[in-house]
């Protein structure tokens, strides 16, 4: 009995592993096929959801006309500008609060209060302040980015091993050299984690911010499509948003792989 078990168990086990990777693709593909069949047979009307093939065709058309690229670039620059401002402001605030008790007492309370606000709820106020062109969109993204950067970097600075700081001090490091050689590298993994959250929230806020009277960008494309009930264009834009999110995450992972190559979990691979 035992003998049979020990012989059979590994065989079954490798069998599962062999088909495992391919098997995970089956159910998404079946769903996609059902969607296509449903659309073609009229079970799913086009104004509810366009067929995958129609979406693919629309995507190709938008690419060929250059419409997608031009709008994507507009959206991309909104995210980039918002991120750049948000990361810079968040980092400056986190370092101010992280490196000095006085800075913490000044900076931390208002940030902790403001971060409980849902950023998107501020959009009416931002429209009143900044009008309806690019400024409120970028400002919303920037504001949303400040909090994850601030919280993670502040934590990272404070979590640097005090024993390492003490050792570095005993070897003559102080002031800026201590910050540059010990505290900032020690806080870097936390900062990168914050950056990942920041990129995700930036894409999220972009979607909503672009609903504000956009003349160009992915949001404009979606709004236009909604007016003409073009579900195919809407789905294309949704896929693009998803790809933006994925791409942003991949970017931070790539940065992590280079910047924190010294970490044991990176060294193993």
């Amino acid at each position: 009995m035992t003998l049979v078990d020990t012989v059979r168990f590994p065989a079954t086990f490798t069998g599962v592993r062999w088909s495992g990777a391919g098997r995970r693709w089956i159910s998404p593909l079946v769903l996609l096929a059902l969607w296509e069949v449903g659309a073609r047979t009229g079970v799913i009307p086009p104004r509810v959801l366009a067929a995958p093939s129609a979406v693919a065709g629309t995507f190709w058309g938008l690419v060929q006309s250059g419409e997608l690229a031009s709008n994507l670039i507009v959206s991309f620059f909104r995210v980039a500008a918002g991120l750049a401002i948000g990361v810079a402001v968040g980092s400056a605030l986190a370092l101010t609060a992280g490196l000095s008790r006085l800075g913490e007492d000044v900076v931390d309370p208002p940030i902790q209060m403001l971060r409980t606000l849902p950023v998107l709820a501020l959009s009416p106020l931002f429209i009143v302040w900044f009008g309806i062109d690019e400024t409120p969109k970028v400002a919303l993204i920037a504001l949303a980015v400040v909090f994850p950067i601030y919280l993670n970097l502040f934590n990272g600075v404070r979590a640097v091993d005090p024993k390492l700081v003490e050792a570095a001090r005993s070897f003559g490091l102080s002031g800026w050299s201590l910050i540059r050689q010990v505290i900032l590298p020690g806080a870097l993994p936390s900062f990168l984690l914050g950056l990942r959250f920041a990129l995700a929230v930036a894409v999220l806020v972009l979607v909503v911010a672009e609903q504000i009277n956009a003349q160009a960008g992915l949001g404009y494309l979606i709004n236009n499509a909604r007016d003409f009930m073009r579900t195919d264009i809407i789905v294309v834009c949704l896929v693009i948003y998803a790809l933006l999110g994925l791409g942003a995450d991949g970017l931070v992972r790539a940065i992590e792989g280079r910047a924190v190559a010294w970490r044991p979990n990176f060294l193993k691979s």
């Binding site: 024993k163 390492l164 003490e166 050792a167 570095a168 001090r169 005993s170 070897f171 003559g172 490091l173 050299s177 050689q181 010990v182 590298p185 020690g186 870097l188 924190v260 190559a261 010294w262 970490r263 044991p264 060294l267």
Partner: protein, 271 residues
Amino acid sequence: MTRPAIRPVVSAPGGWPHKTPAVRVNNFTRRFGATTVLDGLDLEITQGEFVALLGRSGSGKTTLLRTLAGLDTADGQDVAVPSARAVVFQEPRLLPWKRVWRNVALGLAGGDARRRAEAALAEVGLSHRIDVWPATLSGGEAQRAALARALVREPRLLLLDEPFAALDALTRLKMHDLVLNLWGAHAPAVLIVTHDVDEAISLADRVLVLDGGRIAAEERIDLPRPRDGGAGFQAIRRRLLGHLGVEVSAPAPRAASDTPLVNFPVRETAP
């Protein structure tokens, strides 16, 4: 102010002039809140002398070492130490984001930092690990890198805070040899804080027992190195254990001096 007479160095290598002590502490008191950890402590370490400091947990060994290292305030009391001093901690405390040689060269000024780091790493037998990340080092290698980082500063006073406590017995023996060799080559004054009586006797010229905030007892070790745990070794060991409040009824038959019979808790209740 009564100052203890400067004792002759028994076996310090390198031939330092013995006129000025490397360390001089007079009537030093350190309190943490209501607790007096060090209470009117006097200590003198001669140039090139190897001193071991024993004591029970919480006796203030680490506080004294940190004071000498400048990591704990001396509050303007009479503590004289050389400016060139370096610490090896119980944990290697290498910066994980700097390659090994950059850790050794930490805080060094001048363009030849790499060359000096390489030389120091060669001395501790880590020439082949110069460019790796600290996370890839074994415990013994990491502690040798920490030794190199201390040595590269050419310290007149080397402070060792239970540096081998976390290592296995074999590695610890190798580290003892290494430390003695480095001490022979560079002749710094050494203060090693340890909980291991055998380690103290194996390494030091003089073993101090810290108790009640003062140096409560002192044993000069005149045995020739390497010290293999013979009768003289055992006699000193019994006396030191007695000072530490541990009664050893019969001299236990022991194969080698590297298996300590008595181990005090490794970590002090750090104030």
